[in-house]
Symmetry: C2
Subunit: 397 residues, 2 copies
């Protein structure tokens, strides 16, 4: 008797799950220790030419009411109807593996609790960093660490745009258009460009690392649409690349501070070399010092690989993996204001406004410099006002 | 009733395991789902000032015959007596987590089989890449992939030396002396400098990925003691850094080819930015394309973190983790000769001997260039002879 799987959604990721599963079926079964097969694919569309056409259903109840199906891969995206479907599966004791970051960021606590109550698993490795193993290493391999900071490049589209600005001197609008023509960015690029996608992912990481659900609305989020070519060039002269960094840290007062902001990354930091659509996550712990995970953060097969890795784990486990979980949060009083964010800062100011003691770079669009000392975001805002700054950004440690 | 642990060896890693365990005991227990304590520390030396002094024993039988001890951390190093001790523990059903790469590279197949026969676990995350989670991601998170190549910077000492040669123009001997004075290199640096340490680690990775035990003696291994400052400088002009790369790939004929060689890494490759004592492992799979794991490859707390991550897993599991294993190999006929290694090549030759069509860099010590096309190692050797080459090295894809 083989383990029967259902795949919800046959878009980019869902079809990748089917493709990769049948390509590597033998070795996947060997690793799971069980024979496995996909019994259903849920999609409202018709796929008359699909090699899996006999597996399609438009009726979710076919899957829910089939006791043979014990493991479900959710690749639909969006909160609804994914939430209702996933919750129903978990309530029937079917484990679910998802690539859906919106779902996990908005409803992770509820779904983790539901899984626990029904002795099954809700896994979401694919929801952060695509192919990059990060969720499982965070709670398993690094389990002996007190982790106090995580910082990541978690959105491939914006990293591609910033790389084009940097490598090819391409203005933002042109780089965005190129990303769209290559299929890296949506027609409406807001979720990527304004940082909402990265925000959802840092919410998931924050929840997992610090143990309480962090909602996207509690996270200060700034995208890259204001980044000027002159800032990218000036950053280079000052020894840094500009990246959209999603990070979370624990402050001395015990609160946590998740943010998404364009940030200067010094060339000594390995993160500065993460280019194109690649993602990376840097983890700081008291045992490991720092460790980085790097890879393709999106795409059909990379994301499918992460979903299937989770599906294999659901097959191997007979009970809930208790370590990979977090508590609901009734308020966000454990989250610090972004004004408490402390770092060195990059400023671009009108010529003559720069402090005399800082190494600075004069160019056509003003003068750029990095502060020697760290300041809080609140202080940096005051300084920016005082200097009539055109732009300011934090600098990564 | 708490889970009782024994730590074999109280050197750098073993004492780190005790330190990190008691520092993070609460969160470790939460993740393991059980109360835990260290009951014994085995060491022949006396530690009268240790905070754990009542736990020390010089008699291994105290540990072996205490049925309360169910999880053992082996941090002694060397094949014997570690092998005898670890095998005895496994035969009694005590799971073992080790940081000992010599032990795993020489005896991994036997110990994995022993663990399976006695329904316990032999874990070795700490034996490769120190703090970097690589063993578990390879067999768990990337389980849906067909992995066909792994390449890593697996020795921190040589990477430190190469970084000093590159950044500070420091000759090899001087950089080695500095590494020794900083405690990064042993008095007898042979195991690091000649690549034996990296060789053991690529053996472990090769065995895990391709499923059959690969012995160090079957692996072509060349260290960095021949690397000249002029080659590091020329590589930079040609857009590459020089790294000691341990890699394994599967050839089209089904054989695998593990090697350890100084290699030019183009700056576009994220591995080129891995500096100082840091390690990194790049994994190529059909689903993920590529993923890299980066962090501290050695040191007290980083290695202890990896050992304890495994110890936590031994506590959570009631049966053998079957996926993390490999078969014994009676011969090495499945391993290809290094002469079949195909890549582009870096040559340094006397002026006048360089091919006219290649971009080349003329300097005081000859002419350096990289071939446009890939050649086998055997062909590269012939070319080197023909051109009276001073040096030649592969170039990473």
């Amino acid at each position: 008797m083989s383990v029967k799987i259902a795949v919800l959604g046959h878009g980019v990721v869902g079809s990748g799950v089917c493709e990769l599963f049948y390509k590597n079926k033998k070795s996947i079964e060997k690793r799971a220790g069980e024979e496995m097969d996909i019994k259903y694919i849920l999609d409202l569309r018709d796929f008359p030419d699909s090699p899996y056409k006999e597996k399609f259903t438009k009726n979710f109840d076919d899957i829910l009411n089939d006791d043979e199906v014990t493991s479900v891969a959710e690749c639909m995206g969006g909160v609804e109807p994914a939430f209702t479907f996933v919750k129903s599966c978990l309530e029937k004791g079917k484990s679910v593996s998802t690539s859906n970051k919106e779902l996990v960021a908005e409803k992770g606590d509820i779904l983790l609790r539901t899984a626990k109550e029904h002795n099954c698993n809700f896994f979401f490795e694919a929801s952060v960093g695509g192919a990059i193993p990060i969720i499982r290493p965070l709670h398993k391999c690094l389990a002996a660490n007190d982790i106090d900071k995580v910082a990541g490049i978690l959105n491939g589209t914006t990293n591609f745009i910033l790389t084009k600005m940097y490598n090819d001197n391409m203005p933002f609008d042109e780089a965005l258009a190129l990303a769209q023509s290559l299929g890296y960015a949506e027609k409406d690029p807001t979720a990527d460009v304004e940082g909402h996608d990265a925000c959802r992912k840092i919410c998931i990481i924050s929840s997992l690392v610090f143990g309480r659900h962090v909602y996207p609305k509690s996270v200060y989020t700034k995208g890259i649409s204001d980044i000027q070519l002159c800032d990218v060039e000036a950053a280079d002269v000052l020894g840094c690349s500009v990246k959209l960094i999603a990070s979370v840290r624990r402050l001395e007062n015990g609160k946590i501070l998740p943010t998404v902001m364009p940030t200067l990354v010094p060339y000594e930091n390995i993160m500065s070399g993460v280019s194109d659509v690649f993602n990376a996550v840097l983890v700081y712990g008291d045992g490991i010092d720092q460790a980085m995970f790097y890879g393709r953060g999106a795409g059909k097969l990379p994301t499918a690989s992460a979903v299937l890795g989770d599906v294999i784990e659901t097959v191997k486990r007979t009970s809930t993996e208790s370590a990979q979980t977090w508590e609901p949060s009734s308020d966000d009083s454990f989250i610090a204001s972004h004004e408490e964010y402390v770092s060195r800062w990059y400023f671009r100011v009108p010529d003559g406004k720069q402090p005399s003691d800082a190494g600075s770079y004069r160019h056509d669009d003003g003068v750029s410099f990095i502060t020697d000392k760290p300041f809080s975001f609140a202080q940096a805002m005051d300084m920016a006002k005082e200097m009539n700054a055109f732009a300011f950004m934090p600098v990564m440690d």
